[in-house]
Amino acid sequence: MLNNNEYLNKLYRSDQPLIIYKNSNGFDVYTDFSKKYLINKKNIKNFLNIQTKKKKSNSNSLNCYVGFFGYKLLCENIGIKFPKQKTNNFYNGIFYQPLTKVRIRKNISIQSLKNNFRNIKIDNKKYSVLNKKFDLNLSLQQYSKLFDDFSKNIKQGKTYQIKIAQTYSKKGKVNAVELFWKLMKMNKSPESFLIRDKNYSIISCSPETLILKKKNLIKTKPIAGTLRKTKSLNKNKALSFFRKNEKETKEHNMIVDMERNDLSKICKTGSVKIEKLKRVEEYRDLFHYVSTIKGLIKKNITNHEIISSLMPGGSVIGCPKISTIQLLNNKEKNDRNIYTGSFGVIHSNGDMRFNIMIRTLLNFKNNINLSVASGVILGSTAKKEYNENYIKAKSLLELFH
């Protein structure tokens, strides 16, 4: 019989669908999916309130659902209508129910409800990615035009801050597991994950936690503020840069108030508190400015209500949420697809953990794409924000070097 390590290596080399999700102690690998739920705007409420609340169990149990909600689904879920956009018809959302969970810590441990789960076949599929540069859907000129239009909207008070997304894409089919571990060597972000299914894969080094819910305690950790790393910068210097920089401070303040608002919708009066204000987190290519906000969930609030008040995550859209999404929808020609949606786990006892799908690569229909966004805020320039987008994409783009 295969030992745990051999099993895991064989699993990676099979074509069996699997999910890997990073946590503070290591990685969890989910596989042997007994059920796959395709989520749409009609069944999302039912899925969250009925399907995921069948049995009582604790967070360590296998009784969970792992998957994602796409951006469009999350917008439609809060009543926003979309104009026609260019789309590749990728799934709106999918959740998987695993029978096997592998915990990668100092040691590897496995929990499985499936007999003979170690019986797997190695797959000899060929992967190919053209050695070509990524195409970018917006030139600096096109970006500047959007930037100017949105600057006008800000002056008119229609939005206070708005984030323009750009998409990098190229042809190919990737070896998702290999690429994911390569990425984890380069840039192990706290919300990293991988989904490998038969006809698509998603590879992410997301740094942003949107929902951390345990019993009636909920936390969110918005990021607003990005600084490119240089040799002379360290965490302390980055902190003093952010503190002195009016644009970054204003942008961050706005997101803190916005997330306080989104939590207040579902939390007990007076329970919403800022736990950590304006900390610096360090990543491979950049520093981020991060806060943590928490609250106690009111009685009788459903998971669907929680998802609806927090998603789509505000920090990657702008503020105020509804009017800003509407302005974005009228200008963004490509659908955002998974970008700025959320990936995570829902336990059958109602506990949840979700990220925001940024720094996330989608491989579907022989196409590899990745989106990034940065904020139009008065006092910034189109060129600076355009470049900030590149820094955000860099560690994923360099996977292909």
């Binding site: 008119q156 401070t249 303040n253 916005m258 608002n261 919403v272 105020p320 949420k321």
Partner: protein, 185 residues
């Protein structure tokens, strides 16, 4: 009961928690008013929101209907809705202040707050009330210390109050006390 009219803002529920900790508060969208509850409420609060007062004719109607009959408080857009209903024009200001913290000074002895005192407040506005603003019973009572832009109006006879800044923001440490003073008046 306080009735908070939400203009689909992403700060409304910060305000709702502030209000609710003082008196039970009901929140609804501006296009989805519960007229029975509105009628029963003792105070109407107009929330912040995107755009400008003329985008929300329904709220202007509510303001005019209940002015003098119920206590009314407006925040940011809500402040602008009050002064717009009183005949003021709304214009773009030179510097756009979203997520900005600044000192605000009480400049009028008619204010229910202590004259000449100062406090820090969070601001989210690109538009402002144009001046001069003339009204018999409504007075400008606070200004931005640096730019002199009007930050509050008070009409204590009709019990109408408006703040251009956000008492609900974490950038306004004393926000709750300001609201409390109005609600308990």
């Amino acid at each position: 009961m306080i009735y908070l009219i939400d203009h689909e803002d992403s700060f409304t529920y910060n305000l709702a928690h502030l209000l609710d900790s003082i008196e039970p508060t009901f929140v609804s969208n501006y296009y989805d008013i519960n007229t029975v509850k509105l009628e029963k409420s003792s105070t109407i609060v107009l929330s912040p929101g995107p755009g400008e007062p003329k985008d929300y004719p329904k709220t202007t109607k509510i303001y005019k209907k209940y002015k003098g009959k119920k206590k009314i408080l407006g925040i940011c857009l809500g402040f602008q809705q009050i002064v717009y209903s009183e005949g003021a024009k709304i214009t773009q200001q030179k510097n756009i202040l979203h997520g900005y913290q600044s000192y605000i000074k009480i400049i009028n002895h008619k204010s229910i707050f202590k004259n000449n005192s100062e406090f820090l407040a969070g601001r989210y506005h690109s538009l402002k009330m144009a001046e001069p603003f003339n009204s018999k019973s409504m007075h400008i009572t606070m200004r931005c210390k640096k730019t002199n832009v009007a930050m509050a109006v008070e009409d204590d006879i009709n019990q109408v109050y408006g703040f251009q800044f956000h008492p609900d923001s974490f950038l306004t440490p004393n926000g709750k006390n300001l609201i409390k003073k109005i609600i308990s008046r």
